[in-house]
Symmetry: D2
C-alpha cells in the first residue's frame, strides 16, 4: 500500500486494514465529552513492536477532536478546558513546573504559522520571577513561563533544535512544550483535531521540514508536543479517493499501487490542501492554544 503522510498517530492506527483487531504493543482507548461533541482518543505505543508497526516512537498520543473548533462563533471554552485536562493528566503537577513554550514554524507561511502566532498570546512570567522573586509569583499564583518562536532555517540559518537546545541549557526549565502545525491524511481533521504527545517532535514532522528532533533525549527534560493538522498532502487526498474507487472495482492492492505510481506526477508535489478559511482558523487556534496554556500555568479565574 502506498504510504500516506500523516503526523497523527490516530490516523496511522486507523490505516491498519482491519481496524477492530489489536495491533501488538499498541493500546487504543476512546472517550466522549460534552454530549459527544468532543472525542478523545488515546493511542499508547508500549513497546518496540508497537513502535515499529506504527512507525512512531513509544509514548502516549492523545487526540482531541471537535468540529466546534472550526466554528468561529461557538462557545469554545468547554472544549478548551478538555484540552487543559488532558495536558494536566499527562504531566503531573504541571502548574508547579517552570516551562519553556516553543512555537515552531514559519510566521510568514499561513499554514505553518500556528506555533509562532500562539506565542504572541502567551502570558509570560519568567522575567517577573527574576525581577520580583519567588514570593511575588506565589502571591499572584503565577507559574514560571518563558517562550520562543525560533523561526525556520531560511530565516535564521540555524535549526530550531539548535536554538532550543542552547536555550534549555541556559535557562534550565523543568519542561518544554512545543506547538507545531501538522499534516493530516483526512481533510475532516484539518483544524478540528489537536494531538498531544509526550514523545516530543521527531525529525521531518510538521508542515515545514523540522530536521532536528526535540525530545527528552536531546533536551534533557520532558518534552510535550501539541500539534494541529492544517494541511493534507495533495497526493494523499487524491490517492485516498482513487484507492476507494478502485477497491470497489475489485482491483488488488498491487494493481492499485501501480495505478497510483503512474498517475501521481510531479505536478502535485508543490501544492497542498488546506481549509478554505485557513487564515481565520490558524488565528483562532493559535489564540485557543495560548489560552489553554495560560490557563494551565497561571492563576485560575
Amino acid at each position: 500500500m502506498t504510504e500516506k503522510r500523516t503526523d497523527l498517530a490516530l490516523e496511522v492506527r486507523e490505516s491498519f486494514p482491519r481496524n477492530h483487531v489489536e495491533v501488538q504493543g499498541v493500546i487504543l482507548e476512546k472517550e466522549e465529552y460534552l454530549d459527544g461533541n468532543v472525542q478523545i482518543t488515546k493511542v499508547q505505543i508500549r513497546d518496540d513492536a508497537g513502535s515499529r508497526a506504527m512507525r512512531k516512537p513509544k509514548g502516549t498520543y492523545i487526540t482531541i477532536e471537535s468540529e466546534g473548533l472550526l466554528q468561529g462563533d461557538c462557545d469554545r471554552e468547554p472544549i478548551l478546558l478538555c484540552i487543559c485536562d488532558q495536558l494536566e493528566k499527562m504531566i503531573p503537577s504541571l502548574k508547579r513546573k517552570s516551562v519553556l513554550i516553543v512555537g515552531l514554524g514559519n510566521r510568514e507561511v499561513t499554514s505553518d504559522s500556528l506555533g509562532p502566532k500562539m506565542t504572541d498570546h502567551l502570558f509570560i512570567t519568567r522575567h517577573l520571577e527574576q525581577e520580583f522573586g519567588v514570593g511575588f509569583m506565589r502571591e499572584n499564583d503565577y507559574g514560571c513561563v518563558s517562550a520562543i518562536a525560533p523561526g525556520v532555517m531560511a530565516q535564521t540559518g540555524m535549526e530550531a533544535g539548535e536554538l532550543v537546545e542552547s536555550l534549555v541549557k541556559r535557562t534550565r526549565p523543568d519542561l518544554v512544550i512545543v506547538v507545531d502545525a501538522l499534516a493530516a491524511r483526512s481533510v475532516r481533521r484539518l483544524c478540528t483535531t489537536i494531538q498531544i504527545t509526550d514523545t516530543g517532535i521527531a525529525p521531518g514532522a510538521g508542515v515545514g521540514n523540522r530536521r532536528k528532533e526535540l525530545t527528552k533525549e536531546t533536551l534533557g527534560v520532558p518534552v510535550v508536543a501539541i500539534g494541529v493538522p492544517t494541511v493534507v498532502d495533495a497526493e494523499t487526498i487524491i490517492s485516498d479517493h482513487l484507492e476507494c474507487v478502485l477497491q470497489k472495482q475489485g482491483y488488488s492492492e498491487h494493481e492499485i499501487e501501480q495505478f497510483l505510481r503512474e498517475m501521481l506526477t510531479r505536478e502535485t508535489e508543490n501544492v497542498m490542501v488546506t481549509p478554505k478559511n485557513i487564515d481565520e482558523s490558524v488565528n483562532q487556534l493559535s489564540e485557543d492554544l495560548a489560552h489553554v496554556l495560560n490557563h494551565c500555568f497561571q492563576k485560575k479565574g
Copy 2:
C-alpha cells in the same frame, strides 16, 4: 462530463475533448516569447454560439503563462514587460486614459488577497492632478490613476460592485481595471498564469464569491480584468486524476460520472488546493502586477 470549475477561458477551451478541432465562434492563437519561457494564448469568443459553447461572455481573453513567475529569484522584468505589451495592445492609447484600478478580494484571506495587496504598491496620481493641475501631470509624464480595494461583503456589508459603481459615477474615469484572484483547473497554472480580458468580471468568478458583475454594461466605461489563479478546487483535482485513470480503464463517460458522484463527499467542499508557497507567491505577484500597471500609466524609466 462533470463540470470543473475554472475562471480561465484557456482551460475551458482545453476541456473540449478534441482540442485540435475548431469550436465555432471561438478563435485560438498561440505565441511564444523569451525563448519559449513565456507562452501567450489569445482566446477570442466572437459570437453567441462561441459564448454558449464556452459559457463565457464574448470578448478577448489573453493568457500569459510563465514558470518564471513562480521563482522568486529570477529576473522578472522581461516577463512583466510582456504583460504590459498585452495590456497596451488591448486598450489603445492606454497611458492617456484616466483609470480606476480595483483590487478585488479579501486582504485577510491569503489566497484571495492578490487584489488588495496589489493596490498597496500602486503609484497613485489622481489627487496630484486635482491639486497641481494638468500641466504638472504632463511635465512629469504622469497618468491619472486612482485605486480602491473595496473589501468583501462580510467586511463592508456592501457588494464590491455597489462600491465601484458609485465611485465610477462620482469620479468618471475613462477605464476601470480590476485585479482579482482566480480559480484554475490545473495546479500547474497556479501563480504561473495571468489572464487579461476585456469582458470585465462576471458574477461568481474569483476565489471568493463576487456577486455583482463589473462590466462595461454595469459601469458605463470599458472594464479590463486581470486575474491570476491561486486555487484549484479540491474536487477538481481529485476528479481530474480519477477520470484520467478510469478513461484508461475503458470506462464510459457516463460510468465515470456516476463514480465521481458517489465518491465526492461534502468533505472536500471546505478545502482548497494552493501552492505550498502561496503566501510568498501572492506577495510577489501583487508587487508584479502593480509594477506592470505603474509602468503602463506612469513615466517610463
Copy 3:
C-alpha cells in the same frame, strides 16, 4: 497668544484665560461616573457668537475621559458602557437606524490607524438584510450596519469625502458615524479621552489632513464623529511648557509670543508627540470603539 492646535472642543474651552467665566453662547456641563473614574464633559455651542469664539461649528461635543482606557489590563467594560450611553443620548432610537460607519485615516501610520483598525472588529450586517430580509434581522435583533475604511488620498487618489458621499448616495443609510484619530493639546489626554460630536468632521481635523468635510450638509444625513487624540504637536508641548515658565517670570503675553516665534524652528515641524505605547493603545482603542458600536447596534447580551 500663539494658537495651539487641538481637535478637542473641551481643550479650546479650557484655553480661555478665565476658565470659570461664561463664554457667550457656550454651555459647559460636567459629570462623573464610576466613582470619579470617568469624567464626562458636555460642551454645547449654541449660537454664532459661541461658534466664533470657539472656532468650531455649532453643536454638542461630549468628552469622556478615563485614565482606565490607557491600562490594558483593567476592566474596560463599564467605561465602554458609558460611551454607549452617551451615543444613545445623542441619537434618539439609535438602534433602529441603518448606519454607515466610516473609519478615517491611514492604516499604515500607527497614530492615524485608529479608524481603519476599528472597522476590522465591527459586526457587519447590511448584507444579511439584503440576503435574508427584514424578518431575519428582527428575529436576531440585528441592526443594519455597513462600514468602510476609505483610506487616504496617497492610497486612493480620492478624498475620503468623495468616497463617503458617493456611498451614502448609493446605500442611503439613516446615519453616518465617523471614527478618527485626533490631535490634542495636552499629553495627559492622549489615548485616555474620547470626543463624540454631532457636528461631523470639519476640514483639517484629525491626525492626517482630511480636506473634505463630512457633515449633515455634505452627506444629507446626520453625522456623528467619534475621535480619540493620539498625538500632540511637538510645538504645542514645547510652547505650553515655555509659556508656563515665562508667565511665572512675569513676562507679558506679547513678550512670550515673541520668544516663541524666535525659538520654534522648522525642525519641530516634522515630529510629533505620542504615547510610548501608541501601538498597543491604538489596537486596544480600535477594538474598544468597535465593541461600543457593536453593542449599540446589535443584539444585547
Copy 4:
C-alpha cells in the same frame, strides 16, 4: 546641567559647552562625502579619562548623517555604500568572517521595531554551508550569515542577552553585529543618522530597556553595534528649548536647572517624540540596513 538622554556618542561630545576645545582622551574627526550630502564623524574614546568624561565605553563611534535617508524617493544606494565602507574599515576582512546578526527590539512597537524588521530582509546562508559545504559557499561567493530577532522580555521571559549568549556559545560565529533603535537628543537626527560602534551594546541603551550588555566581554567575540535614533525623549526636547531661551535671558545654569525641575512633571514620562512618518521611515531603514549587511557579506554585484 540637567542630563539629556542620548545614545549617540556624537551628541554627548556636542554637549560639552565649548565644543571647539579638546576633551582629554577623546578624538574627533569629521569627513564629508557625496558633495556634502553625507557627513561622517568619528569619535574615538581612547582612555579612561575620555570614557569618564563621555560616560561611554572606550572604543570607536562612527556617525553617518544624511538627510537623504529620510526621503523615500531619493537614490539611497550611494549613501548605503558609504555605510558599507565604514563597516569594512572597522572590521578587517569582514567578508570572510562568519557572523550572527541580532535584531534587537520589539517588533510590535513601531519605534523599537527596526532591528527585528531588518532581520526579515537579510540573506541567510549559514544553513547552506551546513548542508552543501564550504565549497558551495566559495563558488557562490557567500559569507556565513545567521540571524536572530530575540524579542523583548515581555515576549519571551528571557533577556535578549541570555538568548544571544547561549546562541553564540552554540554556533560560535567570528563576529556579532547588533542592530537596534536608539534615542537621540536632537530631532534633526531622527531617522537620518546611523551610529556604528565596536563597543557593542551597553545596558539601558536603545529605545526599550535592554538590560544585559552585549559586548566582547560577555560574548567572547567582537561585537559591532549599528543604531539609528528613532525617538527623542519628550523631556529632552522641552528642556533643550527652555534652556536656550533662559540662557539668552541671562539666567545661570543653576537657576535654569531649578526651573526645569519644577516644570517637568510626570506627564511627559509616558510620551515620546518621533518623526511623523516613523512607520515608513523604520520600514525603509530596516530594508536599508539589511541591504548594507547583505552587500558586506554576500556576492558583490
